[in-house]
């Protein structure tokens, strides 16, 4: 009996501590004591997460190859170890090649739009457990990052920075339900906004003009905010996959498939200075019929990426 009272005391004490945290955070709204704790743990955990990244990378590569490996084991048991070694090597070169291709793509998008960028790697992905989609990246205030900067990858728009510490930055992705981006249809200049709905592969595009023409396959680019914060103009967002008919509503909406896939996010870059001239539609990927060398980058030919 004494045991259970003690347990309850522990529970009550810990609950009170938690409530104190809540109160402190609500009162200071992200400054002061709670901010100190946050910065401390971020600085402590981010390096650990950075080092586990390589482990998890090789683990997930292994996961993708698992089925093949099992068949190989049944057929040739003695070749198994060698097979694994070779596969891992292959996965590593693929990884390097993919990263090089991604960097190329980033440079290209930055060059075309004349963005001033800081390249970064994704450290951790907030799993969307509570519908918020965030990632942390390995650059911070030291590299000149502030909040409300546009984050892009070689494929298109990733999101915006929402909080910055010394060496890491938190990025809210497009899929985050709180994200709203002013956007227009490439080539048609119809305005609207893209919002996330908590699903990683799907965005919602709402147009201001209910009579505007929009069809599946139309491409969406950012409209651009004042001074390029939080979003610079002309970054590709995604492609329209279906148009919702919504009679009686003031706006017309469509489902958009983002160009950037969250689970394969690796190299991204933060736009620290917006282009002086709006690149309009020049950054959109070319239409599939035109054979241009750039197309070979966007689909993923490597096995490590096609999972």
């Amino acid at each position: 009996m004494r045991d259970s009272t003690r347990i309850r005391t522990v529970l009550v004490v810990l609950l009170l501590i938690s409530l104190t945290f809540v109160a402190l955070e609500l009162r200071n709204s992200g400054a002061g004591f709670s901010n100190t704790i946050r910065t401390f743990t971020t600085n402590l955990i981010s390096p650990l997460q950075k080092s586990t990244r390589s482990i998890s990378d090789s683990l997930s590569d292994f996961g993708a190859n698992w089925r093949e490996i099992r068949i190989a084991r049944e057929k040739v048991k003695d070749l198994e170890t060698e097979n694994l070694e070779l596969k891992e090597k292959l996965a590593n070169t693929d990884e390097d090649r993919r990263r090089a291709a991604e960097l190329d793509a980033l440079l290209k998008i930055a060059g075309l739009g004349t963005y001033d960028i800081v390249p970064a790697r994704v450290i951790a992905i907030g799993a969307g457990q509570d519908y918020s989609w965030t990632v942390s990246i390995d650059v911070g205030s030291r590299d000149g990052i502030t909040t409300d900067m546009t984050v892009i990858s070689g494929q298109g728009l990733v999101g915006r920075t929402i909080s910055v510490s010394d060496s890491t930055t938190l990025v809210a992705l497009l899929a985050d339900p709180s994200s709203k981006v002013g956007a227009r249809i490439g080539g048609k200049s119809e305005l609207g906004f893209v919002s996330g709905n908590g699903l990683p592969g799907e965005l919602e595009f709402e147009m201001f003009d209910p009579l505007a023409e929009i069809i599946a396959g139309d491409q969406i680019v950012t409209w651009g905010s004042d001074n390029g914060k939080p979003f610079v103009a002309g970054v590709p967002i995604g492609r329209v996959i279906s148009v919702k008919s919504s009679p009686g509503l003031l706006t017309k909406s469509a489902k958009v498939e983002p160009f950037v896939k969250i689970s394969t996010l690796d190299l991204v870059s933060v736009v620290v200075e917006a282009p002086r001239i709006d690149p309009r539609d020049s950054l959109l990927p070319p239409m599939p019929v035109v054979p241009q060398p750039t197309i070979s980058i966007s689909p993923s030919p490597s096995p490590s990426q096609s999972q």
């Binding site: 045991d3 529970l11 609950l15 704790i37 998890s56 907030g126 519908y131 965030t134 938190l170 689970s263």
Partner: protein
């Protein structure tokens, strides 16, 4: 008092918090992301009872709130997880040979935390469709059960290896 066991609880949760966003989020499974942290808290609470459940839950909640890339109100998750750890310790506690109980309890813990977070998200003003909610709810429970198959034996092994936690613990086991 066995300091090593508290250390084991602490370390297992820290490892889970580190791997959760770097590994499980990258797997890109359909629906929800497997919640390793919750399963570990549930398994400790099942093997060691409410006291350890409360401490593990509080710690896990604290880390979830402050560790990157989390962006929550600090303290909320520790309240919920400490309570969850307590409840699991009371209703699911005690060692048994059956494997079914830890699976069920883990998946219930993961889904109830998920439901709480959904409510929280709705209060925060996010609109959540029923489709997404039910998909995530079901997969969350399923993944937690699958994770528990691996996590529970590991934790009972650690538990046996490190010996009893305290004298009262020893008495209860007899």
């Amino acid at each position: 008092m066995n300091i090593y066991k508290y250390l084991a609880v602490f370390l297992s949760i820290v490892v889970a918090v580190i791997f959760q966003p770097t590994f499980f989020a990258k797997l890109d499974l359909p629906g929800a992301t497997p919640d390793l942290v919750l399963v570990i808290v549930a398994c400790w609470a099942i093997t060691k009872g409410p006291a350890v459940g409360i401490v593990a839950g509080f710690l896990a909640g604290f880390l979830i709130d402050v560790a990157p890339p989390g962006n929550h109100l600090m303290g909320i998750a520790s309240i919920i997880l400490a309570l969850l750890g307590y409840v699991i310790g009371i209703i699911g506690g005690g060692q048994s040979r059956s494997m079914l109980r830890p699976l069920l309890v883990s998946s219930m813990a993961a889904t109830s935390f998920f439901v709480f977070r959904t409510i929280w998200a709705i209060f925060a003003g996010n609109s959540i469709s029923l489709e997404i909610f039910s998909l995530n709810f079901l997969t969350q429970g399923l993944y937690a059960a699958v994770l528990a198959i691996f996590v529970y034996p590991g934790i009972t092994y650690l538990d046996r290896k490190l010996g009893p936690l305290s004298r009262s613990d020893e008495l209860r086991m007899q």
